[in-house]
């Protein structure tokens, strides 16, 4: 990459929080990528949508609750958050259940967005 060139990075999150470390690791890489002034977007599909569920209380499992970090993303100029409509529906979730404002898109439109990216990383 030549200096000063921003690429389009998309992070695709398909795993639930806490059961594995993928969700937390994804957030770390998102913040690093944003620090390098790249164009960053996040996608939440399948069990990845659980990462955004409002009301997480992790004291009982003695694990860090990292869900407030999603609300801080805009401070890093990460403002493109996309959630797949079908994944929400399958889990009985609505937009109002989510901790942060997102754009809800049907699968076909998400696919088009993915096709426009320079780099897609899956977690």
């Amino acid at each position: 990459m030549s200096e000063g060139t921003a690429k389009k990075f998309m992070f695709v999150n398909r795993t639930a929080p806490y059961g594995t470390v993928y969700a937390l690791e994804s957030l770390e890489v998102v913040l690093i990528t944003a620090a390098f002034d790249q164009e960053v977007s996040l996608v939440f599909v399948d069990d990845g949508v659980w990462q955004l569920k409002k009301g997480q209380q992790t004291k009982g499992i003695e694990t860090k609750n990292f869900s407030p970090t999603y609300r801080a993303l805009e401070d890093y100029d990460v403002e493109k958050l996309y959630v797949e409509r079908e994944s929400l529906d399958a889990r009985g979730l609505a937009e109002g259940d989510l901790i942060v404002a997102v754009t809800v898109l049907p699968a076909a439109e998400l696919g088009k967005l993915m096709a426009e990216q320079d780099v897609v990383l899956s977690f």
Binding site: A16, Y18, G19, D46, Q56
Partner: protein
């Protein structure tokens, strides 16, 4: 037998395998397995059907961490870590469906 499932039914087929194969008894949902215990998902009917054959338990700290403790299916019993230990002690054996 105490059957333990720790994988989301929306992601992996561990719960499917357990419900297909295991003899009637107890089923404990922990970690990402607790997503099976909640109302409104595409898989809710599988747990409501399983309640006829299994005593179904879900670990409350895992439900709370995932912000779904307020939507547990009727008939599923929530337990804490002490209850988990009691269940293990009450049963002759445990099977973890990984």
């Amino acid at each position: 037998m105490l059957n333990i499932v720790n994988k989301s039914p929306l992601d992996r087929n561990a719960l499917d395998a357990c419900l297909r194969i295991a003899a009637p008894g107890a089923l404990l949902l922990i970690e990402d397995g607790v997503y099976a215990a909640i109302r409104g998902t595409a898989h809710e009917a599988r747990i409501t059907a399983a309640l006829a054959r299994f005593r179904v338990y879900a670990l409350l700290p895992d439900l709370e961490a995932r912000a779904v403790a307020d939507r547990v299916i009727d008939g599923v019993t929530t337990i804490d870590y002490g209850g988990f230990v009691d269940l293990v002690a009450e049963h002759n054996a445990c099977q973890s469906w990984l």
